[in-house]
Every structure is written in C-alpha cells, then in structure tokens.
C-alpha cells in the first residue's frame, strides 16, 4: 500500500504542476498587462493562444488517450464558432448581460460541436487507423464547404435560409443578413478575454485529467491498448470511443466559441478551419508528446508565440515545423532511434549514479 500511495501522489503531483504552470503564466501575464509592460502584438495573441491550447488538449484526448488519429478537429472548432457566433448575433440586445450571453454561447458552441461529434463519430469510429484519419479529414472539409454556402437572414417574418446567395433569401427591406455565405458572420460581439480563455483551459484540463483517472478513462485507454482484450472483458467499445470523441469535439467547439468572439468577422477559410488547421493542432499534440497533456499546452504556446514574435522567421516557420515534426517522429518512434537513445541515455544515467556514489 505504501508503494501505491507514493505512486498515486506522483500523478497528482504532475497534475498539480500542470495546473500551477497555467495559473502562474496567467498571473505573470496579467501583471504585465496591468503594468503596461506588454506589446500590443503580444496582447493580441493572448486569446488565440488560449484557443490553440484548448484545441491541443482536446485533440490529445482522441490521439493520445483514445489512440485514434483525427484530422478533422478544425471542423468541430468551426461548428462551435459558427453556432455560437450565430447565437450571439441573434441575441445581441435581447440578452442584456454580456456575460450571460457569452456563457450561453459557450454552452451552445460546445453542445453543437459535441452533437456533431456524436453524429460523425457513430459511423466513423467503426473504421480504424488511416481510414478513420481520412474520413475525419473528409468530414472537416464537408463542414467547411457547407458553411460557405449557407445564407441565413432575419426580418419581420422570421428566419430565411438559402444555399445560393443573399438575394434568394427573399427578405423584407428591414431584413438583416446573419450568415452571409463565404463572407461568414460579421459583427459578433467581442466577448472573449484572456481571463475567460484561461478559465476555459483550466476547465478543459480538469475534465480531461479527471476523465483519464476514472472508470470511463480506464475503459478508453483499455480500448486504445488492446481493442480485442477490452471487448473480451465486457467493455463497450462503441460507447467509450464515442464518449472520448464527442467530449473532444465539444471542447474543440469551446475553442471555436473563444475564437469567434475574438474576431469581428468570422469566415470559414481553408486557413482557419481547413485540414491544414487540423494538422497544425496535430503538430502541437505530437511535439508535446502524444498523450502528454502538459506537453500539448507547452507546444501550443511556444509554436503560436514563437513565429509571431520572431517575424523575420515567418517565411521559414512552416518549413521549420515540418522538419521538427519529421525529426521528432523519427527520434521518438523509430526502433533504431529508441535503441540508440536507451543505450546512450542509459549510460548517461548510469554515469550520474556512479559519480553520485563517488
């Protein structure tokens, strides 16, 4: 029992470090903001950084904990962003309190993305590996394409919907275009703040960490480690895969809400919601270490800030990402590299020990 206690403390300790790190970073940055020791460029990056951190943590649930590769994560972010921006735009002036409206927008964004997660997950999670990856990619692209042909307007008679253009909405002269196809949604209230972003990160962290250390989390990881064995001990594969997938989608939806309410105009372009974005999030997860939540956070922060702060490198930014990604994968996963690492690092550890004894 003594061994157990020590070990349990170790995981709790590790989680504490993660939480402490986030809170400390928040305190330092807030202090910098208060004293005015912060550039406007850096300030503008605070909410996006929070968005990417949430995306990275949530994708890690699917890639690291469930062990399936999803390349459509940006699609769920897109659903959350548009559902919540649409809601906020409709409710501007209807719900008096900005705080309440944003809170409801968050719930709606998360729920919409979560429901999409379930709807997409039911068919998709029957597939495995590469097939699952390509189909999630396909779904992400479909979501983006469909949003680009949506036109929604509102006038005295209620809502109008079209997939062609604004004119075919057939609105009265007093009508307002809410969703304008490729131009998206403009005039979303800018409710997102750094503080809200950090609170969302903390909530995401609590959910993931507590999920992993619970009965359901164990079932999810059992499926990851050996599906056939998990089935043989009576674990419902579909249920738990779907659970991980939809929780992850709902979190990505939250990130989308944060993203949408930080911009005055929201459009679905290949750059922000295409599969390139999904892959970008995957890069955060891989570089932070698959399954390593704290690593995801650090990777997301560094990879978002660094290129922006080092503008001179911006041409080489994606090139460097690509090389780092390949090198990291080879270093971490190639059997030869593992062998070499164990030999070399093992010797290093051994040397440390002997010097200590001496």
């Amino acid at each position: 029992m003594n061994v157990m206690w020590k070990k349990m403390k170790k995981t709790t300790k590790s989680n504490m470090i993660t939480f402490g790190m986030v809170i400390l970073a928040y305190a330092v940055i807030q202090a910098m903001v208060m004293t005015g020791n912060i550039s406007s460029l850096f300030k503008g990056l605070l909410v996006p950084v929070c968005t990417y951190v949430i995306l990275a943590i949530s994708l890690n649930l699917v890639v690291g904990i469930l062990g399936e590769l999803s390349l459509g994560h940006a699609g769920f972010m897109c659903v959350g962003a548009f559902a919540s921006a649409f809601f906020s735009k409709c409710m501007q002036g209807v719900i008096a309190s900005d705080g309440l409206r944003f809170f409801l927008a968050l719930l709606i964004g998360a729920a919409a993305a979560g429901i999409f997660g379930i709807l997409i997950g039911i068919p998709v999670l029957r597939l495995k590996g590469d097939y699952l990856a390509i189909v999630t990619l396909a779904f992400g692209e479909i979501i983006k394409n469909v949003i680009n042909v949506m036109f929604i307007g509102k006038d005295a008679n209620g809502f109008h919907f079209s997939t062609k253009d604004v004119i075919s909405l057939n609105m009265e002269p007093d009508g307002v275009v809410l969703v304008n196809g490729p131009q998206g949604i403009t005039g979303t209230p800018k409710d997102s703040t750094f503080t809200i972003g950090v609170i969302l990160i903390l909530i995401t962290l609590i959910i993931i960490i507590n999920l992993v250390n619970s009965r359901s989390g164990r079932a999810i990881m059992a499926i990851r480690d050996n599906r056939i064995a998990a089935e043989s001990i009576g674990i419902n594969i579909t249920k738990y895969k779907l659970m991980a997938f939809s929780i992850s989608a709902a979190m990505a939806g939250c990130a989308g809400v944060l993203y949408a309410h930080n911009l005055s105009s929201l459009t679905a372009t290949p750059k922000n919601f295409g599969y390139n974005m999904s892959i970008m999030i995957l890069v955060f997860v891989v570089l932070g270490g698959i399954g390593n939540i704290r690593g995801s956070i650090i990777a997301a922060v560094i990879l978002t800030l660094l290129p922006e702060l080092l503008r001179g490198l911006s041409d080489y930014r994606m090139l460097i990402y690509a090389i780092v990604l390949i090198v990291m994968m080879l270093f971490n996963w190639a059997p030869k590299a593992i062998e070499w690492r164990e030999k070399y690092l093992g010797r290093l550890k051994h040397r440390k020990k002997t010097t200590k004894e001496a």
Binding site: V63, G67, L69, P123, V124, R126, L127, G129, D130, Y131, A133, I134, V135, L137, A138, F139, E141, I142, N145, V146, N148, V149, T163, P182, I228, Y275, I279, L282, V286, I290, D315, Y316, M318, L319, Y321, A322, I323, L325, I326, M329, L330, N332, W333, A334, P335, K336, A337
Partner: protein, 294 residues
Amino acid sequence: MSFISYFINGVSLGSVYAIIALGYTMVYGIAKMLNFAHGDVIMIGAYVVLTCVSTAGLHPALAVLIGIVACTVFGIVIERVAYRPLRNAASPLAVLITAIGVSYLLQNIALLIFGSNTKSFPEIIKLPSLSLAGGKLTITGTTILTIVACLVIMAGLMAFINKTKAGQAMLAVSEDKGAAQLMGINVNGTIALTFAIGSALAALAGVLLCSTYPSLTPYTGSMPGIKAFVAAVFGGIGSIPGALIGGILLGVIEILGKAYISSQLADAIVFAVLIVVLLVKPTGILGKNIQEKV
C-alpha cells in the same frame, strides 16, 4: 450534349486521379502506409517541368522526362529517410504523422523556391481537338491524351506486376513481408521500387493535371492527392483495377456535381461519397475482406 461533354471531362479528371491513386494503392498495398505526401510529389513534378520548359527552355518531352526522374529520386529519398526507419514502429500512427510532416516539408520547400504566387503552367501538349456531332461536341487533345495515358499506364502496370520478377516480388511483399524475406526477396528494395514507380507516375499525373488546369501553386497537389486517396479507397485499396474504377467514378462525380449541383459543394460531394462507400463496404468496390487474427 453538354452532359456528354461534362462526362468526358469527368473521365479525364478521373484518369488523373486514377494515375495518382495507383501510387497510393501500390504503396498502401506493399508498405501498409498512407503516403500523405504523395499528392505533393505531383506538385514537385509540375514545378520541375515548368522550370525546365519556361526557364531553361527545354523541349517539353525532355522536360517531362526530367520531371519523372526528379520525382522518382524524391520518392526514393523520402522513403529511405523518413519512412523506412519507422517501418517497425510500435504505433501505426507514427509513419502517418511523419508522412504529414513530409507533405508540409515539400509544400514549404516549393513555397520558398517558387513563391506563393500562382504560376501558369505552359501548354506543352499540343494536340488538335476532336470535333464531333457537327461541332457541337469538342474534346480537347489534352483530354484524349489524359484518358489514353491512363489506360496505357494501367495496362503497363498490370503487365509489369503479373509478368516480371520484380512485379511478382511486389505481390509477395504485399502478402507477407516476413515470408517474402525468407524466400530471398529484397524487401527494402521492393518497397523502394514501389515508391519509385508511384512517384514517377505522380510526375506524369502532375503534367496531365496542370495541362488541364494550368494554375500551379505549392498547394496544387494536396487536394488532388487527397481525392486520389479517396479514389483508391473507393475502388478498394491495394487493387490496381480498383484505382482505375475509383478514380474515374470520382472524377465523373466531381465534374457532374460541379455542373449540376453546386460548384462550391463539389468537394463536399466527393468526400460524402467516400464516407458512404466506407460505411457500406469498408474495403471498397474491389477490396478484399481481411479479418483480424485473434
């Protein structure tokens, strides 16, 4: 009449997809990996040909030959450096993520060398158009060449695999790597050869694609690449006739969807087709059923 014209354009686009899909399907069949960077090899091929023709002023045929050689070398190098070390990795995701990294690498190398501006691909296929039905239906020379090229490549590849020793080795490796090795087959060499052939075909596909749609950017290859993978899955991954059928069906669906439903939703339709196929018959039209061993 316009339907027939759309249909023929669809078959032509589908032929390009089929040629690209061959690369995917062969690599998937033999190395059991999704080479995400395959689409970007197409783009590299197109840039090489463009540079040879426009900048160096070489004869188009020579330029295409150089493009093929360049892509072949690229394919072999990528396999050797990035994929082979991960062949026995513990996680099957490792090599897929690396392939995504290679895809990004190729795009960004092209971006640095050629810039992000759209380059106009030179007209290198100079064949007369075919006029049918009293001038109501015109088929361009490029379209005809694309379809013919696809059929020739397909037939050539089938013959290569069924009639030559190297082709038989490929089949053996795709069935069972370990057993093939024991039979004295050079597994590494065979896989490298597969990448070489796939990449050479990608160069050809790049030329054909850019001859029909002559705007070239560093991202030109990625969408056709993904769609060609869809085509390979559609036809049944690992199957060469499957790549042909899947490619052509996908091309026709895409062009008809663009013409009759919505040009913005054409990609969505293609992806929806993939999803439906995978759900109804996960192994594709001509795919084999494989049961997991317990």
